[in-house]
């Protein structure tokens, strides 16, 4: 499995070094443990152990009334909280048969795309930190602040928004919102050019990322991966295209695919470029949608203490910034949800880590882990 036939194991008869990178380590994207078997600096076998961030989200959702479900869905993936809320609200709406008014659907779509851009910018920060270029980290964090300010303007909080309700959104969009969204789009377009100059086409970053830990199509199929990591390997599956929701079907945008510019299809460089392209796509969507917000009611009916959902069940899937995020809600007609289960993209990405790390150097491990955009908070729930 190791590239050259001659490796130190056979030649020098040394046994493999075992090294355990514990729950807290500066190269890990979250609390997880890697048990590595190393031949010199090259990883031979890697075992991933997770579960350090299990906080019983699904049990907690069952103990509380329906309105608290959205608050708990925020903390499924605290970095991009809108997707957790969106998938939960869509599932509950499908059970009770109500649909959000068109204005609420557009506001939800806007927030989802802004969260996708903020998620991909956070991905770029982790990549720049893994590769060690400080300047890009500061530039990208400064630009993500603009989007978080937008979230604070509309919803009142930067990360855990708690803005979506069953049947719509909590309150209307303030008037200054449309100009500020266009302003943010313009700013990010200018910044993307600057990132390309300083980081994307930097020769040493190309060296660090091309041809490293490629994900093949059958590895995607084996782990059931979805989202940017799968599309970088050439598997064209995007929930916004294949199972449209929220009116994505009448928007024209493309789900970019990996093109193997870094020499090997699906390597770290492809996964990085695809997220840059997805930021551009999300900006196109924002531009198309933000002028034509239909007016009308933004909430079907207020959600109070005694909110009841008729008995039934539903499974809904959306495209979060990390992949296919599904939510299976079962309600038995009482004041509390019967069961809430989330199908999370990061579990599949975590399953891919032991498959792609053999053959990678120890120095590249942080880059590989950052390139997979693992959401440990959503994997352990």
């Amino acid at each position: 499995m190791i590239g050259s036939g001659l490796n130190s194991q056979t030649f020098f008869k040394t046994d493999l070094t075992t090294w355990e990178i514990g729950p807290y380590h500066s190269s890990l994207p979250g609390p997880m443990r890697l048990k590595l078997k190393l031949d010199g600096e090259i990883v031979v076998k890697c075992e991933v152990e997770t579960g350090f961030l299990h906080r019983g989200l699904e049990k907690a959702s069952e103990l509380h009334g329906w309105p608290s479900l959205v608050v708990y869905a925020d903390h499924l993936d605290p970095e991009v909280a809108v997707f957790g809320e969106l998938v939960t609200c869509l599932a509950v709406e499908e059970i009770s048969g109500i649909t959000a008014p068109p204005r609420a659907q557009v506001i939800r779509l806007l927030l989802a795309e802004l969260a996708r851009i903020s998620g991909h910018l956070a991905f770029m920060v982790r990549m720049a930190k893994a590769v060690g270029s400080e300047t890009v980290t500061h530039y990208v964090l400064r630009d993500r602040e603009k989007i978080l300010d937008l979230f604070e303007l509309v919803t009142g909080a930067r990360f855990s928004l708690n803005f979506l309700r069953f049947g719509g959104v909590r309150s209307d969009v303030t008037d200054g919102f449309i100009e500020r969204v266009l302003e943010v789009c313009e700013l990010i377009r200018v910044r993307m050019k600057e990132y390309n100059d300083i980081f994307t086409f930097n020769y040493s970053f190309l060296q660090r990322s091309s041809g490293v830990a490629p994900i093949s199509k059958d590895c995607v199929r084996f782990c059931g991966m979805s989202g940017p990591n799968a599309r970088a390997a050439g598997v064209a599956f995007d929930v916004r295209k294949d199972a449209p929701y929220l009116g994505y079907s009448n928007l024209d945008f493309i789900a970019p695919l990996g093109r193997g510019e870094g020499g090997v299809l699906g390597d770290v460089h492809d996964r990085f470029l695809i997220r840059l392209r997805e930021i551009n796509e999300s900006m196109e969507i924002l531009k198309q949608v933000v002028e034509r917000i239909p007016d009308g009611p933004f909430l079907h009916a207020p959600v109070g203490n005694d909110y009841k959902v008729p008995a039934g069940e539903a499974y809904v899937r959306i495209e979060s910034s990390r992949g296919l995020l599904g939510c299976h809600v079962v309600s038995d007609g009482k004041l509390k949800p019967g069961r809430v289960q989330y199908r999370v993209p990061s579990l599949a990405n975590l399953m891919a880590v032991p498959l792609i790390t053999p053959g990678v150097r120890v120095e590249d491990l942080p880059v590989v882990l950052a390139s997979l955009d693992l959401g440990i908070a959503e994997a352990d729930r």
Binding site: T155, L187, S204, G304, N305
Partner: protein, 179 residues
């Protein structure tokens, strides 16, 4: 592998070296405008805190931002809706009958900010909208006790309670008599 000619190899080598140096220099020079703060996009963005000039104060935040909670006790009707809906169960309310049947004396109204997640459900459910989010965000405290904000009116003295009970009975009899 077909042996390429040496000169082609050298050509590729030189091209790669030149490409590498050119892209490294290019990315270095993109950072130069920041050195001299050229243009609006390249000013420094970090703010000192607490800095009288640059740091954000409460009223710079957008109107909806959910800071520490405040309850205007005069308008509060003691309906306990906020206590029921709070996911963190961090609101403790204790009411007593007031001077008239319609009035309620809210003696204890504590919000435990060590448990509050600032989700805003309580302010949404509050009918008289007496419980609102201020934009204050400096909530640090030295001990858990100080994190509990209490808006209640305090316990009634026994005589006060007896006096009001008598007034209520009086007004009830009054209605009885007039019927």
């Amino acid at each position: 592998m077909v042996r390429e000619s040496v000169f082609r190899g050298i050509g590729i080598y030189i091209r790669n070296v030149f490409l590498g140096v050119w892209s490294i220099a290019g990315s270095c020079f993109t950072a130069v405008p920041y050195l001299f703060r050229l243009g609006e996009l390249r000013k420094e963005v970090t703010e000192g805190y607490p800095d009288p000039v640059s740091s954000k104060t409460a009223d710079d935040l957008p109107p909806r931002s959910r800071g520490l909670l405040f309850n205007d006790i005069d308008r509060c009707s003691g309906c306990r809706d906020c206590e029921k809906i709070c996911p963190a169960q961090c609101i403790k309310i204790d009411c007593e009958p007031g001077s008239e049947a319609s009035k309620v004396w809210v003696s204890v109204f504590d919000i435990d900010f060590s448990k509050c997640v600032f989700c805003g459900l309580c302010t949404e459910v509050c009918l008289p909208s007496s419980l609102v989010h201020t934009r204050q965000y400096e909530g640090a405290a030295y001990s858990l006790k100080d994190l509990v904000a209490s808006f209640g009116r305090g316990q009634l003295t026994p005589e006060q309670r007896a006096k009001w009970a008598a007034m209520r009975k009086l007004s009830e009899d009054g209605e009885g008599v007039s019927l």
